[in-house]
């Protein structure tokens, strides 16, 4: 192509944009996201995400199942962090209902959900490296530790991923002492494992090349799109509900929220998740030390569970950001309206902006770095 300053003597070469359908059956879209990419050569000019391949009408089911039934379903909204979806709804229902949650239950909730945050980030770490092309080596190491945590979950909730552990009013079951000591042992060795991941990834030159300066998320843009979670903290916005709108027993725990001092790129989003894992580990340690004795549920867990009439919105800080639940109850045994505010859904909406003018090879590097779970998007 001749530039403006040159005289164009040759007939102009006609170039067309190419449409590529990435997904829904694509190995790297983490489920069934479909991206319609408009490519200019290998450069992405426009992206249109098509959602809904995993739509399971969770909100409709919330209106048509009793509270007790629905509790068991919502772990599936975000299958990697089921504790948080349970907790968001439990909190919303508790806020509307006005029931008290025993302190032991709150500590247990914090503990299991921080464990869940670690498992979620570990899985993200593994799959993200797969997105970057490390197909065989590293991705299995995080799964080693995740497996240990899943075993602990299995022991306490009877399930490895769909826990249904956090219930409206409290938690389901009291952990045994053996479980607590196993967890303690895990928290002691976990920082070393994170060091191992960092040793193999953080200074890997190819990893740095693939992530540094790629997919820069400007702070203002992120706030405009309502991005939350580690993705926006890596871009310098201090929003962590555990600190900014404290809930449960978080005010009593000592931890600080890492916030970046510049617009974050893909690498920053990686490193902030790593830091968050270490921080969660510290929180679990503190909870183990501070765990009080007492009741674990402030509400009777029966099939006819009812929530008082009213409406309310409550949110928790999930591994992906603000996970909110807006409940309108009319006092019957099922909700009048349940609206989920899913972090993945909101974070995904920025993808077209981030992908603009990046080569197609970066699509997965960027998409992976905002940590989207498709069931959480499609509900």
């Amino acid at each position: 192509m001749a530039t403006d300053t040159e005289v164009d003597l040759t007939p102009r070469l006609k170039t067309d944009e190419m449409l590529i359908n990435m997904g829904p059956q694509h190995p790297a879209t983490h489920g069934v996201l479909r991206l319609i990419l408009t490519l200019d050569g290998e450069i992405v000019r426009h992206t249109e995400p098509i959602l809904g391949h995993l739509h399971r009408a969770q909100e409709w089911q919330g209106q048509n199942r009793t509270w007790f039934q629905y509790q068991a379903l919502i772990d599936r909204v975000d299958y990697l962090s089921g504790m948080f979806t349970s907790w968001a709804m439990a909190r919303a229902a508790e806020v509307v209902d006005g029931c008290e949650v025993p302190e032991r239950a709150e500590y247990l909730r914090v503990m299991v959900s921080e464990m869940n945050r670690i498992t979620s980030h570990l899985l993200w770490l593994g799959t993200y490296l797969i997105d970057l092309g490390a197909m065989f080596g590293f991705p299995f190491y995080p799964f080693r530790e995740r497996e240990k945590l899943l075993e602990l979950f299995e022991e306490i909730a009877g399930q490895r991923m769909m826990f249904n552990y956090i219930r409206i009013g409290g938690v389901m079951r009291n952990p045994k002492d053996a479980w607590l000591s196993k967890l303690k042992k895990f928290t002691e060795e976990f920082p070393d494992r994170v060091d191992e991941y960092e040793a193999i990834v953080t200074e890997n030159p190819i990893f740095l090349k693939r992530t540094k300066g790629i997919g820069i998320l400007r702070k203002e843009l992120g706030m405009d799109y309502g991005i939350t979670g580690p993705s926006i903290r890596a871009s310098g916005v201090n929003i962590d509900l555990r600190r900014t709108k404290p809930y449960s027993v978080y005010p009593k725990l000592k931890f600080d929220v890492p916030v970046n001092d510049r617009d974050g790129d893909t690498f920053d989003r990686y490193i902030f998740r790593i830091r968050e894992m270490r921080q969660s580990n510290e929180i679990i340690k503190q909870c183990l030390d501070m765990l009080p004795q007492g009741e674990i549920s402030g509400k009777k867990q029966i099939a006819g569970l009812r929530v008082k009439a009213g409406e309310g919105f409550a949110a928790v800080e999930s591994p992906r950001g603000t996970l909110g639940c807006y409940i309108i109850s009319n006092g019957s045994d099922r909700a009048y309206r349940i609206k989920w505010r899913n972090p993945s859904f909101c974070n995904l909406s920025i993808l077209p902006e981030l992908l603009k003018n990046h080569p197609i090879a970066d699509v997965m590097a960027i998409f992976g770095s905002i940590d989207v779970i498709l069931p959480d998007v499609d509900r």
């Binding site: 959602l51 809904g52 739509h55 009408a57 909100e59 409709w60 209106q63 048509n64 806020v95 509307v96 706030m223 405009d224 799109y225 309502g226 916005v237 201090n238 929003i239 900014t244 709108k245 009439a309 009213g310 409406e311 309310g312 919105f313 409550a314 949110a315 603000t322 909110g324 807006y326 309108i328 109850s329 009319n330 006092g331 019957s332 009048y336 309206r337 609206k339 505010r341 859904f345 909101c346 995904l348 909406s349 920025i350 499609d378 509900r379």
Partner: protein, 178 residues
């Protein structure tokens, strides 16, 4: 299923809250609703929504610059478009409701609410979702298409009067192109 939220015991009418007062100072009339779990809740006329949002978002003292969610509710006699507003920097919270009376909706058409997505990107997908599930048409939206259901889905599932066609999952729904 069809019963409406039970009527709350009547509360004494309160004066406008922080944000309500702020909007009143700027000449936008609001109607304060009962607080939902301690969060100020106001009703606002659809025509003033965009101006109010711009004021709330831009002002330095209120600074409600975080649009958490846009929800649609099919209430007893209104369609509500509910906006949860938070702030990235302070602790203000606000719930805004825009209500469209069902009697005002023309038969066969959708209730109309102005779209925010022209100046607030966060609203874009939430409005699409609400349009898809509850059937509130956000006018001025740049790309108002179904987002969670397939593009040729009939009806809006979260409406109280929604009846799923028996065959709609079997590609035999009348009007389906598949």
């Amino acid at each position: 299923m069809s019963e409406t939220p039970a009527a709350k015991p009547p509360e004494e009418p309160k004066g406008p809250g922080l944000c309500g007062q702020f909007l009143k100072d700027h000449g936008i009339a609001t109607n304060r609703l009962p607080d939902s779990c301690g969060v100020e809740t106001i009703e606002i006329d659809g025509a003033h929504l965009e101006a109010a949002m711009k004021l709330l978002r831009g002002s330095s003292e209120i600074k409600l610059d975080y649009l958490v969610a846009v929800s649609g509710v099919d209430s007893a006699d209104t369609f509500d478009s509910v906006y949860q507003l938070w702030s990235y920097t302070n602790n203000n919270e606000l719930i805004i409701k825009v209500r469209v009376k069902k009697t005002d909706v023309v038969e066969g058409q959708l209730p109309l609410v102005p779209s925010l997505s022209r100046f607030w990107s966060a609203a874009n997908w939430h409005e699409r979702e609400t349009y898809d599930l509850v059937g509130i048409r956000y006018y001025g939206h740049p790309y108002l298409r179904r987002i969670l259901n397939v593009w040729d889905w009939d009806g809006h599932p979260l409406r109280r009067d929604y009846k799923q066609l028996v065959d709609s999952l079997n590609d035999k729904a009348p009007g389906s192109f598949r």
